[in-house]
């Protein structure tokens, strides 16, 4: 009996021994969704209401949603209607957009801002290069046009 008691004490002692663990961590960074992970198409109402929020920085009202839904549902080629609605949003003085002066001063930052705001991801290096190159070739075009292209793109229709 005494032997068993000693054995139990030893086992308990061993089992309670602290084990030093090696923990590996990385610095916390924002992980952005890549476009490849977007597989679900936004519903018509989602697309309209999310775009409204993205442009105005506030939720769409029920009245406004109904107004836009009526137009959206009344024409078969949705891109035709989306182009018009988006153009109307972006030309509204209440639209929350970076300034063209900011784009000129720091195109990288503005392009990144628009990508993160609308696509919930950072642009790839090639995308960044292409957009900047496009802006250099079209000095008369600015934030309004970049935002229009992003908001009417295929990727924006998915989440």
């Amino acid at each position: 009996m005494r032997k068993w008691t000693i054995l139990c004490i030893v086992l308990l002692a061993v089992s309670c021994k602290d084990v030093e663990l090696n923990q590996y961590e990385i610095e916390p960074v924002n992980v952005n969704t890549s476009s490849a992970e977007k597989t679900q198409r936004k519903s018509d109402l989602q697309l309209i209401s999310i775009m409204y929020s993205d442009v105005y920085g506030k939720a769409i009202s029920q009245t406004e949603l109904q107004r836009l839904s009526d137009a959206y549902n009344s024409f078969g080629d949705k891109q035709v209607v989306i182009d018009r609605i988006t153009w109307g949003y972006l030309n509204d003085s209440r639209a929350d957009l970076p300034l063209d002066s900011e784009l000129i001063a720091n195109p990288d930052a503005v392009i990144r801002t628009l990508y993160e705001r609308y696509f919930s991801r950072v642009p790839g290096e090639m995308e960044l290069w292409y957009y900047k190159d496009w802006l250099m070739e079209n000095p008369d075009l600015g934030v309004l046009h970049l935002a229009f292209v992003l908001l009417t793109s295929e990727e924006y229709k998915y989440y």
Binding site: A71, F75, D77, Q79, G88, E127, L141, V149
Partner: protein, 433 residues
């Protein structure tokens, strides 16, 4: 001639001989298998449920004097409740200029509006399993046209002008695996799109400088190329860039006109235009702008018969007048005049027995819920160029049914043989010269 030159000329000559049979007088390289009777078809669904008793059988008098010949007096109580209409847009009733099938049939399937529309637009019978929230199972006439017509035509050549943006836009294209949105028509519900709140949402100033538009398109093309999605995953049909430009310009014009009041009773109807008339008005605008090879437009006002028989009769007269206006517009549109087949038919009839709701004249209202024989009796009018469609012909015996309309359209546009037997109906040959 050396050997090399001989071989080259022989090859060109052989190619020419081989290709010659496929080059049409019109300059088209590839012909649809069948010859065309006309180059444009307009199909007007005189819908909402019209009973033959009140239409071609004139039980209440001739309520459709623009379509039907005859001066039968309208019942006194109904006549006293009629709203005024301008004189006919035409010099003679349409019946005298085309072929009227007086005993046409919606032969199978529930006598509901959506079933009736689906049958008329797909050429297939339906049953109670028809899903009202999904695109039809069988290809629509728009898809058949856009897939099988040769050469294939842009979506701006096919239009579906629906009276509402609820449910009926689904008839734009089917869920059939061999067809789908890439062959759909440009669906438009103009009475919703160009009125009220939606009108404001469209904005009137969507006009991009062509150079800017080209640059935006270039950037969009690049952006979309980074996000690969196949067409079938996308919702809705797509137009070409040129097609979209034309459509945007058309919408700009409509919005501008509607906003400035030009669409307030443009036909000067004394009692004002109802929804049917407005839908036909906008169908005419589409015709004038796009001169489509295929256009389907529907009406729906007669469905007021569920609660008001007298107003049902009144709306029959309005619809009749609107059809005459449509034909007049077609015949005055260069490119479509004398080259258009017009088919007019209700989608379903109405019950033989009334319900219990009476109107101010003590007339009882009519549903279309029993699938009885009377609710399957409809009519069909076919109009077309002289030398193509028989003028002044009235077919009084039972002949033709609504599944025959799609093959008749396919035959008229010359692509019926390419539909590979998918259509159960027949061509309404009786109407042709």
């Amino acid at each position: 001639m050396n050997r090399r030159e001989f071989i080259r000329k022989s090859a060109i000559g052989s190619l020419g001989i081989a290709a010659a049979p496929y080059i049409l007088p019109s300059g088209r390289l590839f012909a649809a298998t069948g010859a065309r009777k006309v180059n444009h078809v307009v199909f007007c669904l005189f819908a909402g449920g019209v009973r033959n008793w009140e239409s071609v059988q004139k039980a209440e008098g001739n309520l459709m004097p623009n379509i039907l010949s005859g001066n039968e007096a309208i019942s006194n109580d109904i006549a006293g409740s009629m709203s005024g209409l301008p004189s006919s847009p035409l010099s003679a009733p349409m019946q005298t200029m085309g072929t009227l099938f007086k005993e046409f049939r919606f032969s199978s399937g529930p006598t509901g509006h959506y079933n009736g529309h689906t049958t008329a637009i797909t050429g297939q019978h339906t049953n109670t399993s028809l899903n009202l929230r999904a695109n039809p199972e069988w290809p629509t006439i728009f898809e058949l046209y856009r897939k099988h017509n040769s050469p294939s035509q842009a979506a701006t050549n096919a239009w579906w002008v629906s009276h509402s943006n609820n449910l009926y836009p689904l008839l734009n294209y089917s869920s059939h695996p061999s067809y789908g949105p890439q062959y759909g028509a440009n669906q438009i519900a103009p009475t919703q799109l160009f009125s009220g709140a939606a009108l404001n949402a469209l904005g009137s100033n969507y006009a991009l400088d062509p150079d800017v538009a080209e640059e935006l398109e270039r950037l969009r093309h690049f952006t979309d190329a980074q996000f690969d999605v196949s067409f079938n995953e996308a919702a809705g049909l797509e137009n070409t860039v040129e097609g979209r430009d034309q459509i945007q310009a058309f919408i700009n014009k409509m919005v501008s006109e509607a906003s400035s009041g030009q669409h307030n009773n443009p036909w000067s109807i004394p009692s004002g235009m109802n929804g049917d008339m407005y839908n036909m008005f906008y169908a005419e605008k589409v015709i004038e702008e796009f001169k489509p090879e295929l256009l389907v437009v529907n009406m729906f006002g007669v469905d007021v018969a569920h609660t008001n028989f007298t107003e049902y009769c009144n709306n029959l007269r309005r619809a009749d007048w609107a059809v005459a206006h449509l034909w007049n517009t077609i015949q005055n549109t260069p490119g479509m005049a004398n080259d258009t087949l017009l088919i007019v038919a209700p989608e379903i009839g109405r019950n033989a027995n009334p319900n219990t709701i009476s109107d101010a004249n003590g007339r009882f209202a009519l549903d279309h819920t029993t699938n009885d024989a009377v609710s399957r009796e409809i009519f069909c009018l076919m109009m077309g160029p002289s030398g193509v469609v028989q003028a002044g012909q009235s077919i009084n015996q039972v002949a033709g049914e609504s599944i025959d309309i799609v093959p008749t359209i396919a035959d008229a546009l010359g692509f019926l043989p390419d539909t590979n037997g998918i259509l159960p109906g027949r061509v309404l040959q009786e109407a042709y010269v």
